[in-house]
Amino acid sequence: MDKSVTIKILIPSGALGLGYDRDALMRGIEHKPDLIAIDGGSTDSGPHYLGTGTSKYSRSSIKSEWRQLMQARAIANVPLVIGTAGTCGADDAVDWLLDITKEIVKETDQDVTVAILKSGQPADRVISAFDDGRITPLQPLIDIDHAVLQNCTNIVALAGAEQIQAALNTGAEIIIAGRATDTATIAALPLLRGCHAGGAWHGAKIGECGALATTNPSSGTIMITFDADGFTVEPMGQNARATPYTVSAHMLYENSNPLKLYEPGGHLDVTGASYTALDERRVRVTGSKWFPSDIYTVKLEGARCGGYQCVSLALIREARYVQNIQNWTYAVEEKCRKKAEEQVGEDFTLELRIIGLNATLGAQDLNSQIGSEVGVLGIITAPSELVAKEVAKMLNPYLLHMPLTDDEEMPTFAFPFSPNEMNRGEIYEFCLNHVMELDDPMQAFSLTIEQVRA
């Protein structure tokens, strides 16, 4: 191993679309990074994005930030890598960012070479792997069969360092990758150049949320310097500091296991890691270990249609109704359900959540208290848009007018909209929590090169 190797990776922010401190980014460029890496997505905002193959962030904010990163890249003259492009990293989302890139190239009159790494999985490929016993479930167990796989609107495999390295080896200036692990785009180059493997993965995990591992998360930009023994964290924001506490505590963040991180080809264990302050702003980490696995697997994500949804909201201010809201809601739900079952059959769900009482935690909330007003949110989910809308329209008069007792005047509650029903269209659900075994890391991924000219 070359003991003198150092690789600097500049991470502008936790995700493209979140924004960052431009001065911090330019300071990072002055520090001469070897690569700029940014995450383009996550499953955090739910299954809609993978289900539809679309981005969570606005096209214009993505374009504006991506343009700045492309310009920063041109100044630094190093590769710019984005993983999980377009929130979900499905093939359509990769094409979406590629289109944006082409527009920017035309507008800025700067040619670039783009490597496009796609992670989308045809259902047939996953079904055949499933039949060959090459799909293994993770905890918690979710049952799958051919029908589940066939019904997915998108299946993606999470690329690891190997697939990003293949893209880097093409010499492309920009790499647009589909679904990838949060860490792969950062760890790929240090691993390729022979930096410490445990340090590469651990440093990548610390850096993947940008400046979240520092005292000033909103400054965004962070530099991780990798070497033969470990890595060093340095925030680029002027008033941001990395401390042994902020860096080590970052392993807790959105990780179910704070000590181990599973990646394609092995796992990271940070149990023996030590964190040392180099000065007030920088932290040095050594002692993290990488354990290669015998079998190379990639994690799968899939989303399928979970029905069609329509929602309706009533606002209730009248004190007697507010005080008796739970009973009123039960009665509305019961009456509406009975009517709907008579009209459209039983294949729908109707749920009323009381906003201002326990809408966030439901029955698990033992400390809920009522205030001066409540909202009642009706949620109808059915196998078709038509049925969902029909039931929502049946709910409408109950939400508007239902009296608490039979012998009282008909009340009227506040509806904020006309129509009061809000059609949410098709909803999706995640239906895969599995890994797929590969003989070769590139077996389930496609890599193409495009010369994008102004």
């Binding site: 905002s45 918690p140 080590s248 704070p258 698990q364 995640f430």
Partner: protein
């Protein structure tokens, strides 16, 4: 009544992928951490979260003065009955945990 939030520094929760929730209980010093270890006993916590003990994973991290709990989310993220995409509210169930007898 003493609540867990009153004897610790910060309690936060978040989704960890579509299938897990993780809750971090931060303590400001070793004495607080010791109290939290006792107060946030796993049985008590599982009950408050409405999950089984077998599903609850616990990490006591003295270097960080953090007690961390992870568990499969009772309702998969984004499915029709899910109320909280990012699992942000689960922390409140532990923040409001009555620890009078143990604190």
């Amino acid at each position: 009544m003493t609540k867990l939030a009153e004897i610790t520094q910060k309690i936060r929760s978040k989704n960890a992928g579509p299938f897990w929730i993780t809750i971090d209980i931060f303590c400001s010093d070793d004495a607080e951490f010791k109290r939290a270890l006792i107060s946030a006993d796993s049985e008590h916590v599982a009950h408050a979260l409405g999950i089984s003990m077998a599903d609850l994973k616990r990490y006591d991290m003295p270097d960080l003065r953090v007690v961390k709990f992870s568990f499969p989310r009772p309702i998969i993220q984004g499915t029709r009955f899910d109320r909280d995409m990012h699992g942000a509210s689960f922390a409140n169930l532990l923040a409001e945990l009555d620890v009078t007898a143990k604190a």
